[in-house]
Subunit: 317 residues, 2 copies
DNA sequence: AACACTTTTGCAAGCGATTGCATAAATTTG
DNA sequence: CAAATTTATGCAATCGCTTGCAAAAGTGTT
């Protein structure tokens, strides 16, 4: 292994000068610095991260902890990963992946947390490091989230504007803030417009939504639009409608939420509120890094809320 | 920060004894060890990873490097991640994520590489650490892969066994071993059966496949089955058929490959060869760890080949 | 009880880098 | 041009832990 000392000897300077050439270039004579850089190249010198971390107390590692069984394999997270990873790389931080139940091995400079449910907050509190949430929380932690209220409000308004007269909100059966926000967005939109509406909460799976439509088909007059809390539900609902002989989008409309399935299935063009997950990932990474670099500058909870964008397709007229 | 010394003082032993209690429990008197363990608990002692790595020359970090633009957001990788992450956690290793173009920050004990193309091998060779590939390679590196030949051979045979009389292989237009294997599996199966067949290679996107069917519709007599190199292509093909008024599965069959979209879209029940990605991820992690722990035991290239499983659904009769 | 063991614990050195302080060189100033 | 100041480099200590060897304690044998 090539060490600072090796470089120093070869460059005829002390290892301190080499160290400074790397970390504080302005403190080293230009000429000398370039010659040191060259030696580093020749020797393929790579600073030892462990040694650095030991003395500087900074690992340059950020952990993304996903509080959900990873075998559910949400493609959702993949886009998040892309955003986070890109941003961290720009700042020369490494991204480490962990799940809630994973053995806590290795240290890090901060955490990005996602998929957190109420029961997990105890775990979070015991963390002694900067934390940024992906998803709203009422505990005062900084977070990045999409505007769930706006998303459902807007998609509901859109459905109404397309002439659908009966609205169904198909939510997810969890007790979490994001779900309330979505529901409230829907409620406000229908109340304002005075159209008839109903709500249901289902487990977040296609077939559950399909079954629901099958079993309650009588409740849905023509001109019903289903505003869903996820694309999965949207797709399931659409199937249910088709199986009952309903015509999408002429007689029934469907709007999803997330937008993660969009690029994958060309035919299933679901109208949906698309979350800019890559952007949100970047934002979370950026916020965390800023918290790490300026530990005391911030007093209040920082909230970065990024709007979802309506992406219209063939499941609405 | 709680250090070994703190624990040692509190437990009235030297820090060496504490260290041994952790790393070589059998060398410490049972009674003493349990009392040390207790002190560690009380003080919430966590060994400093950097210090450990510095002296032991092992970081307990594995890097998964994905050689593909991550913004393509293949859900494929998510399942892989799950498998790798689970296995690494069992062995108390951390998983670090990197892309080919990401700044190489931090050290690791080994690499799992996926999405590698011919042009990337130069980068790999310069690595000075154990490497396991995800996907076949002819360079002598250990790898884990699904049996691409078997997968396409089997799905083609299946299509033939269901009575389809004209076979179309819809491949991906890349120059990689895995693609040849698939093609060869298809060729062998049709040759053996003597059915008529044709091949095409397309970019791996739904709409490309849909367009292809539209433009070549005249070439496909009734009783044609499309055997595809990915689920995306399969879904695109199916759409193309439907748009042309073809009946799936009665007059046209479609078989995909991967199985990653299966659980996501209930209605689009594509018959497909399902890769057990979680298992494959585990296998890759296990193989890498064994290479790390027994550096010289192995002479030849180790190949772990895991069969895909046919999952029949509504796109074949 | 004295010897040769084996088992258990402690000491000192060092992994590769960075921090604080001291020194040397270069530059400015009166 | 010597003194004061700025800029550039080097020295020593240290981060928390593990390795190699030495010392101490315990065990058994004659």
């Amino acid at each position: 292994m090539v060490t600072l000392n090796d470089v120093a000897e070869r460059a005829n300077v002390s290892k301190m000068t080499v160290s400074r050439a790397i970390n504080h270039p302005e403190q080293v004579r230009d000429e000398l610095r370039t010659s040191i850089m060259q030696v580093m190249q020749e020797l393929h010198y790579q600073p030892n991260a462990a040694a650095r971390a030991l003395v500087s107390r900074s690992t340059r590692v950020i952990k993304l902890t996903i509080f959900e069984d990873m075998d559910t394999t949400e493609p959702y997270y993949m886009m998040l990963l892309a955003g986070i990873s890109n941003e961290l790389n720009r700042h020369q931080y490494a991204l480490q992946l962990a799940t809630s139940n994973s053995y806590q091995v290795g240290e890090c400079d901060g955490y990005i947390l996602t998929g957190i449910r109420q029961k997990d907050y105890a775990w979070v509190e015991q963390l002694q490091q900067p934390v940024v949430f992906f998803g709203r929380n009422q505990q005062g932690y900084d977070y990045v989230d999409t505007d769930n209220y706006q998303a459902l409000y807007e998609s509901t308004r859109y459905a109404i504007s397309r002439g659908y007269e009966h609205l169904v909100f198909v939510g997810i059966d969890v007790d979490e803030p994001f779900e309330y926000d979505r529901e409230t967005g829907f409620r406000d939109a229908v109340t304002e417009s005075g159209v008839s509406a109903q709500l249901v909460k289902l487990a977040n799976h296609c077939h559950v939504a399909t079954d629901y439509v099958q079993q309650h088909w009588a409740e849905f007059p023509k001109n019903t639009a289903f505003v869903c809390a996820s694309d999965r539900l949207g797709i399931g609902i659409e199937d249910g409608i088709t199986l009952n002989g309903g015509k999408v989008p002429d007689d029934y409309g469907v709007i999803g939420f997330d937008g993660v399935l969009l690029n994958q299935i060309a035919s299933k063009r679901l109208t949906t509120m698309q979350q800019p997950l890559e952007v949100m990932g970047r934002a979370a990474a950026k916020l965390l890094l800023s918290n790490i670099q300026h530990p005391h500058e911030r007093q209040d909870q920082e909230k970065i809320i990024i709007k979802s964008r309506l992406s219209t397709a063939e499941s609405t007229r």
